[in-house]
């Protein structure tokens, strides 16, 4: 480790900690999840990058949306995302969360994931190779360093916009008060 790296850690130890412990929620959506077992096991060994699959959303901060998102799955994704503690990062994996992919005219698949959740990064391809996940992770590191991976803040600021889109397809979802005052009140 060189001197510059140490200075960077000392500047923001929290960023450094978050960067090297991206724990992914083990949430399987669509067909892209077939790439996850080789990524987390010995063939590619994601733990080298600090990426671990986590059983519960309370322990994770990286959310990989691996493939097409049906309306029913979207409800589960939003519930999971709301349970994750800040800071949290969402990465769309494959072409389906980007614009629907091959399901662009399907009646039961959402097309643009970023209308419903704040997405920090996309991995294009159908399917992307496991290496693409590591490229995305390294990109995410750089974004965290520069303070650009702020999807969770965007979600809080534009909660009305996301709520409106979420409720257009899933009217039964619970609504939270995510304003700063309410969060302060709750933490007391």
């Amino acid at each position: 480790m060189d001197r510059e790296e140490i200075l960077k850690i000392l500047k923001s130890p929290a960023n450094w900690g978050q960067k090297y412990s991206l724990w992914a929620v083990y949430f399987c959506t669509g067909c892209g999840v077939v790439e996850i077992p080789p990524v987390i096991t010995s063939r590619w060994d994601a733990e080298r990058f600090g990426v671990l699959p986590m059983a519960t959303p309370r322990q994770g901060n990286l959310f990989l949306i691996t493939g097409y998102v049906s309306v029913k799955t979207l409800g589960a994704i939003i519930r999971t995302y709301d349970q994750m503690p800040d800071p949290k990062y969402v990465v769309g994996f494959g072409s389906c969360p980007v614009n629907g992919g091959m399901y662009w005219d399907s009646y039961n698949t959402i097309k643009h994931l970023d209308q419903y959740l704040p997405v920090d990064g996309w991995i294009a391809g159908c399917m992307p190779r496991p290496e693409a996940i590591f490229v995305a992770v390294v990109h995410l590191w750089q974004m965290i360093d520069k303070g650009m991976a702020v999807g969770y803040k965007r979600y809080r600021e534009n909660y009305d916009y996301y709520q409106r889109n979420q409720r257009a397809v899933l009217p039964h979802l619970p609504k939270f008060d995510l304003s700063q005052d309410a969060l302060v009140q709750r933490s007391r």
């Binding site: 309306v71 029913k72 662009w104 005219d105 039961n108 959402i110 397809v169 039964h172």
Partner: protein
Amino acid sequence: MREEELSNAIQATIESATATVQKPGRLVASVPKAAATSALIFLKARGFEHLSAVTCTDWLEQGEFEIVYHLWSYQDKIHIMLKTRVSRENPQMVTAMPVFRHAQTYEREIHEMYGVRFEGNPRLTPLLLDHWQGPPPMRRDFDTRQYVEETFGSTPPAEE
């Protein structure tokens, strides 16, 4: 030939039923709506113990839904497709549950995708769709593209 025997037996037993042998081991029979349950009972007694699937086809031009029961006999190794038609305006059918209990899930799916009501089925709740607000999506007069554009704001297709 067992297929011929069977097709003759169906036509002799059930009124205004037609049955044809498509190829060795496969039969197509169509019966009127009112005789569907009795045809199922008759075939089950003849050894057709396995109801593989219940499917539905939308014949928009003729204004009818066609409900197809796929039955298989382990004894004779014959696959029979029992077809019956219901009107599109008032799609209503008697459930096959007293004969084949597991028809419940198939009927539930057909009810969700085509809007056919199965009288006597106690649980016709949505199966695959979540909080669906449009018309039944597998009907042919359901405009998928228009629905997608209105609901999800789809990207325009690439120029062909």
